[in-house]
Amino acid sequence: MRLIARFAKNQNEVIDVWDERVERHSLDPTTPTIHSIAKKHPSAVWFERKMHDEFGIEIDGAFDNRPLLRHEHFPHIHPMIQECKELTPAPFHPYPYERIKGEGVFEVGVGPIHAGIIEPGHFHFSQEGEAILHLEVRHFYKYRGIERMCEGKSIEEALRIVEKISGNESIAYQIAFLRPFIEDEEIRKYHAILLELERLIHHLTDLGFIPNDAGFGAALAFCSIKAEECRRMMANITGHRFGFGGVRAEAKPIDKKGLENFLNTLQSDLIWFQEWITDIPSLWDRLDGTGVLQKQEALRYGCVGIVARASGIAIDRRMSDPLYKNFTPPTQQRGDVAARFLQRLDECFASIDLIRSFLDYRPTKSELDVSDGEYFSFSESSIGELFLYTYVENGKIVRFFARDPSFVNWQALHLMMPGNIIADFPLINKSCDLSYAGSDL
């Protein structure tokens, strides 16, 4: 069984979402405590630490009791249940990092501010010379309190916030958020076109950045042109380069002929790129065998998306969606940086085909059909399976929870490190290209 999410609905109830069923645990309100499942399902660690930090729920039998969201200066409050206007910094309390002790072993801390235009997060390495012995990923520098921000708002109001959780996955977030309230197939097809276009933008950007991190800048120049063109296409269709506000209860008319021509050019350019890039031995020397994630480990950690599919696990939310008619995603077997690179390339071709198959939609308009209830909704973002939980009462959101695909995959990142040198870390990290904003919330 794969753990999708474990979160607190409130102080008295914890919900476990598995791939096959949903489990609910009632807690004793005076001393809310829940038993840890992290020994069997390692990706539960962050879920449980988050629950403890935000709701003050005690985790019984946990082997990791360190704070997750509450950093060095964080006062002793639980931000999801306590009212506060302004947080005042508490005295510095150091965070005990995971350390490997031994003669000659030293530590390297990287971040939260990195050398480049990227999001903040901390990576803590234990090193034996060049070789990485262990990596601890420490995030939540961007913890904005999105879940609480959405409470008390209507679906339309909250949508404006949800679409800005993670810029790279905006369309996927909007689709997952509105999924329970939209049934019209024509509208869903239109949304699917946008989702695949967003996937193309993200994959193309990475197809440039991965070789660039291995010192092959020409690929970045080529792919960033293609990514920019796709972004302009997104702006053409939705009126916004990232598709903010692009997913609503309507299927807008688009210039289908123009989009088809665009896709044809893109496809032939990508075929050219594929031939070119696979013929550069010095590049593949860096990518092959770097940052391997074994299939068993990926399964144990419940990895999703590109990371899982490059390790030979065919999981994809689009497979179970009747809209995609027996879609099977491409997969790779080796689980290294090269596999994740090729996986992205294959998915670009798959996305182009999918957009073509949805172009027969008819423009239409409808209303959001919002009724009270608990909703578990999914979509397949460019990073992987996205899960949202929305609890609506009297038309207002009482509890909103988001599990970004990155939240699970970040926890598996350290598995790719042993046997690699620290200089390959940026390459491995980029090959997964996980979101910080989506996971920190």
Binding site: H71, L87, K164, G167
Partner: protein, 168 residues
């Protein structure tokens, strides 16, 4: 490798653009001139994300693509705040990022300017103030200029940067 060069001669340069946007070219020319005059053709920018959705970062990355090609104009995004003239800040300033943002600001050598990018930095966007948010940025560090938009597209960033550079 031989095949690579054979194709290279046959197919020409694939990573360069033939398309020309006259308006964009005019902005580029102006930018290059201003930077030459005021920063001896070398302007170093350090970008710090204090809690954005990553769209502003994506647009700043897009500035380096062959459509905009900012590096040709003498603008470089540098790895350390100690090498920078301008601190470009995006995001709402989360409680957890505040000490690090101030740290980065202190590391910048004088003369220095802070430019904020995106509606999050002034908290006039859709992301609301919660107790976990310490923004707007200008309440924490002195801000010299703001580039509005959610996110501003690369062309707007260039235009706005030009306006700012002219003013100093």
């Amino acid at each position: 490798m031989i095949r690579f060069w054979q194709r290279r001669f046959k197919e020409g340069i694939k990573t360069e653009l033939s398309e020309l946007d006259a308006e964009l070219e005019a902005i580029k020319k102006e930018l290059k001139g201003t930077i030459k005059e005021k920063f001896a053709s070398s302007l170093a920018i350090r970008m710090v994300d204090s809690g954005s959705c990553n769209a502003c970062e994506a647009e700043c990355n897009a500035l380096s693509n062959p459509y905009y090609d900012l590096e040709r104009l003498g603008i470089r995004f540098v790895a350390s705040p100690r090498h920078a003239d301008i601190l470009l800040v995006s995001g709402v300033v989360t409680f957890n990022m505040l000490p690090h943002l101030i740290d980065a600001y202190r590391q910048l050598p004088e003369p220095k300017w802070v430019v904020t990018i995106g509606d999050c930095t002034t908290l006039c966007g859709d992301i609301e103030k919660t107790c976990l948010i310490k923004g707007p940025v200008n309440q924490q560090i002195p801000v010299a200029h703001h580039i509005p938009g959610c996110p501003p597209d690369p062309k707007t960033i260039m235009e706005d940067l030009l306006t700012f550079l002219r003013s100093i």
